[in-house]
Symmetry: C2
């Protein structure tokens, strides 16, 4: 009996029409489909694929035991997430070892800050694993602004809003083009860093890029507004162009 | 008579199976398809789409008047490229103004260092333009290495190998994860910068990511080898993971 394959499939930025041909084929043909979500929610990945799966699909929702209730720096966060990923990986390995192929969905690109990476590290040495790249949320976000992100020799820096204000400021100051992700409750820190770096007025806030509820605004026009998790802040490069 | 639309369509990293559903539909239904190439070559974009277009498609190859024969800093380079983009834009505008839709292809993502951006700037105020994001070459490259590019709070820096060795070194030293593009004849400069930044032994060279001739090697194993234009150097982030 040969092993099945675990496919780490990037869904892309959120619009099902922006899935790759390969992702779409794997998803629509899959008997087993696994995806992450916050407990008690439908989950973004599950929403994207609504109506695309086989009638006899077996879904495996993997529900995060914590998201933002425990600080990332708390050892308890690490302990619980580690146990969670181990449990998911064990289930997926069991399926693959019984010759079943499984599609594990990832929002955005699976190897770019994706939860799938934690599964990957735990299954890669045991069964065949294939990973399918995808359109990132940041690509959809800069397309949504209607302005190219990088020109000529521009340097692009991608920052997580979870960094300290001091580090954000330093890195924002020294780059040409900028993408900031994992905004959510960190938005005021990012605002302060952008101001300190002299780039606040050039920044855009894109919420839910390529999804039906997409919004695109200058960050300065959003003032004291909170931002959802699927938010990306963009500052465009201004490099060489003929 | 209403105007046609100019579609800036990202083809993705090179494997036709990694095109988005939308790009595939636009391309296979298009009557007019434009793409860039070096004079006298088939061109990478044209190779990717071989066999996908309508029988009665009208192709419009846009042939760069110069690529690396003139230095980027020479005003003559700018003058000739500017004239070239103006001429292409005029042709595409004429089509759109006669109610024809046109698909303009872009390798990778159209707004991420793409030649389409130069067309976009010249047509956007005159006719409807739609831009379709895509899988970037760098996504295909990090997937090809079999290792995730960014974890936790990792900062990702994307650098053009055309920068000075001093600037490359400084930026390589200060980032977690690294992507270097536009390698080609700049590879020795990038090697030197990686060594100076203490990251040479962690670097990977990916040539032709996701294309049939793809190669993946530690950069240190490639020694004095030249690298093709479609090469990407990767250093993976090592951030937090449970």
């Amino acid at each position: 009996m040969s092993f099945g394959t675990i496919h780490g499939v990037g869904l892309g930025s959120g619009d099902p029409d922006l899935m790759t041909m390969r992702a779409h084929r794997l998803l629509t043909e899959a008997r087993h489909v696994a995806f992450f979500r916050k407990a008690g929610r439908t989950g973004q990945a599950r929403k994207i694929i609504e109506g695309l799966m086989r009638d006899d699909v077996v879904e495996y929702p993997m529900e995060y035991p914590v998201t933002t209730e425990i600080a990332l720096t708390d050892p308890e966060y690490n302990r619980r997430m580690s146990g969670f990923y181990a449990e998911c990986a064990a289930h997926l390995l069991k399926l693959a070892k019984s010759s079943e192929d499984v599609v594990v969905l990832s929002e955005g690109d699976p190897f770019f800050y994706g939860s799938f990476m934690h599964i990957y590290e735990r299954v890669r040495d045991h069964v065949p694993v294939q990973v399918v790249p995808a359109v990132t949320g940041m690509s959809a976000a800069w397309i949504a602004t209607g302005e190219p992100i990088t020109w000529g020799d521009d340097t692009l820096t991608v920052l997580m809003a979870t960094l300290s204000e001091r580090e954000l400021t330093m890195r924002i100051k020294s780059t040409d083009a900028l993408v900031v992700m994992k905004i959510g409750r960190n938005i005021d820190k990012v605002r302060a860093a952008l101001k300190a770096a002299g780039k606040y007025d050039d920044a855009w806030l894109v919420e839910y890029a390529s999804m039906p509820q997409q919004t695109v605004q200058k960050l300065s026009a959003t003032q004291d507004r909170a931002a959802p998790y699927f938010s990306i802040i963009i500052v465009h490069g201004q490099g060489r162009r003929p």
